[in-house]
């Protein structure tokens, strides 16, 4: 049973219902609308990003649906990423963050997790200057401001 999704830039994507429903947002929309052929508009997601998201959902179409465990301690989550996912996430940074935003909007928790783990791994252990370099960020602090923050947070650097 196919479903049509329309991106921000009006590109149509036809996918199996099972694949589309990896997105809880889309799943709920389908349930609300009932049986219908009309395409589902996704005005927050561009076609380039939607294409990637669909690729992820196709590959993971058989994964067990993650049940949100109340006792899930985030600190115990593993930092490991499957090889396919790692390759999938090897994209330029803009795309990386767009995928995260899309996964958040479309409510695809496993994809959001993979994206967040990827970013977390990039940032881990880096100095502020290294982080800026990786993401091309402009430092908008004055040297005095930055020195003050460093002093302020020194206690946290210990651990």
């Amino acid at each position: 049973m196919p479903v049509t999704l329309t991106s921000l830039d009006d590109v149509k994507f036809t996918v199996d219902k099972e694949v589309a429903e990896r997105s809880i947002l889309i799943k709920n929309m389908i349930e609300d609308v009932g049986e219908s052929d009309s395409p589902i508009p996704l005005p927050n997601v561009s076609s380039a990003v939607l294409k990637k998201v669909i690729e992820y959902c196709e590959h993971h179409r058989n994964d067990p649906v993650q049940v949100q465990d109340e006792t899930d301690d985030p600190r115990k989550r593993s930092n490991d990423i499957e090889e396919w996912d790692m390759k999938f996430m090897t994209v330029d940074q803009e795309m990386l963050f767009e995928i995260i935003l899309a996964a958040n909007y479309l409510d695809i928790k496993p994809l959001l997790d993979v994206g967040c783990k990827t970013v977390a791994n990039i940032i881990k252990g880096k100095t502020p200057e290294e982080i800026r370099k990786v993401f091309n960020i402009v430092n908008d602090f004055t040297p005095e401001e930055e020195a003050q923050i460093k002093k302020e947070n020194e206690w946290a650097e210990d651990r």
Binding site: N62, W84, F97, I100, C116, A120, V138
Partner: protein, 593 residues
Amino acid sequence: MDTTNSPLERVLEIPEIIERISAYQDRRTFASATRVSKSWYRAYLPILWHTIDNGKHWNDPGFLKAIVQHGDLIRVLVCARYDEIDILIPPPKGADALEQSVSLCRFLTTVVMPKTASRNQKQQAQFIRQNPGLRDLSLTFNDQLSSTFTELVDAIGDLKHLRRLSFDGNRSLEATTLETILQRCSSVSPDGNGSLQELSLSRTSFLRHPFGRGEDFASGVVATRGEDAHWTDTQNSHDTTIPTKEPFAITTLRMDKVGCVQDLLLNLCSRFPSLSKLSLSEADELYYSDGFPKRLAQRCPNIKWLDVSHTEDMDDESMAELISSFPGLQTFIAEETRFGTESLNALVEHCRDLAVLDITNAYEMDSAAMQRLLNSSWSLRSLNAWGVAYNVIEMMQEAHREQKRQGGSSTLTDGQPWVCTGLERLILNVIYSPPDDSRVGNVYPPSRARRFLYDQLGRLTKLRYLALETSLEDYEDTSDCDGYEDDEDYYGQKKEVRDHAVEDEDVDSNEVWVDYSFKSGLRRLGSLKELQQLSLHDVSHNITLAEIRWMAETWPHLRKIEYLTSAITDQDAQTILEYAAENYPWIQFVEDD
């Protein structure tokens, strides 16, 4: 370059996403992140300050300075030192004594307070008043009687959202204090405040404690015994009717590692008729008498979750009585106890809703009783019965008896099958041990027992985690753990198995046992489509590359196999791991947890 609307900037503006990213990072990374740029500072500052639980930080003058500015970002605060309260809320000085000091933190949801004493209880009271959003509060009352902490108790009573209150390890909590707090925070009346539902008194030794035996606390019935009785004497404990008092809304009571007499427990529980979860884990100084279970059930008939693990005082019979007093039981945790056949029978007979059972390392048990459990527990989702070996022959005999009882013919089939098809987690040891009467061994040879086990397992289509240890005992044709090494052909054949058709099940062989090989009947487990984790702890198996390939292809959710390589030779282990890493990278092979 204007980056204000870049995807990265947009991500930084969504706290939920930053929280998710930070779940995989450490505090040092948070500190680094705050220095990257102004938008990074805004995103990461609340993350950095969310949880403060490291006593060392209080020694750092930089920290003490910074907390003045950012204390309002703290949500979870764990205090260890005595004088931290002075830092968090300055003590009143001289003429300002009547003026309220301002706390550095006002939005805490969880706090573990430093030790309360008469010299700081006013400050602690003020601190609590300025954190009206508190949900989880832990107090240490060690030296002075709690009745001297009037301002503090008053402040706690005013909390509108308190959900959990802990007096773990206390030495001076009085019953009157508890009564006052519960009356204000755990009321069952519709216009009262019933937010407080969880109470913890773990690690408290109530023997010779100001709480007494709670006789003034009890409602409806009071448990008492003779005045001269020794504090551990339970023999004369009996119930006397008394006027009822207002009940409380407590649903969870934790009394782990406590030392107390049953009278205290009974009197405490008489005020908690809604109690559904009770933990008495490691409560080795809890002295019971006969009749305790019925008396407890009379007070708290709704208990559904019970943990009595790591206790030795209750024998099998008493535990059975406890179980039969709570037919609504859904979770029963009795790891390392004297849980035995009577208790297992009691569960089968009384607890239709049983979903979670943990009887790891319990005492020896009747295998037929285990079969009865698997035969009748429709709701069972998780069973951990590690430590006792269940004899599959006796299980099969019981299965046939049950089938006869139900009027079925027992000639060809395996008897009454397991009904616990909702089982998601199974940890079990099974042995094949024929009795001296060889006729029994002939009716139930290993080949039949093996098929029985595989077939029953095959019914558990919701299974996610499987750890099944099986061994063949005292059977003359038995091969030992490394049996396959003796069989040259089989061993030689393994190396080429990658390219040839795999072996079919050898249905009639009494030499092959449940070792997860094709020959033994692995394919009968093809229906376990939800299986995520397989543990081969202590299991002698005959898994080769062919079996791994089959598992990866047949069990789409398989993500982890534990202890695979400990039972095979180094070379084979290497080959298998390399092959698996290349072809099935999503499956983790773990050797020790």
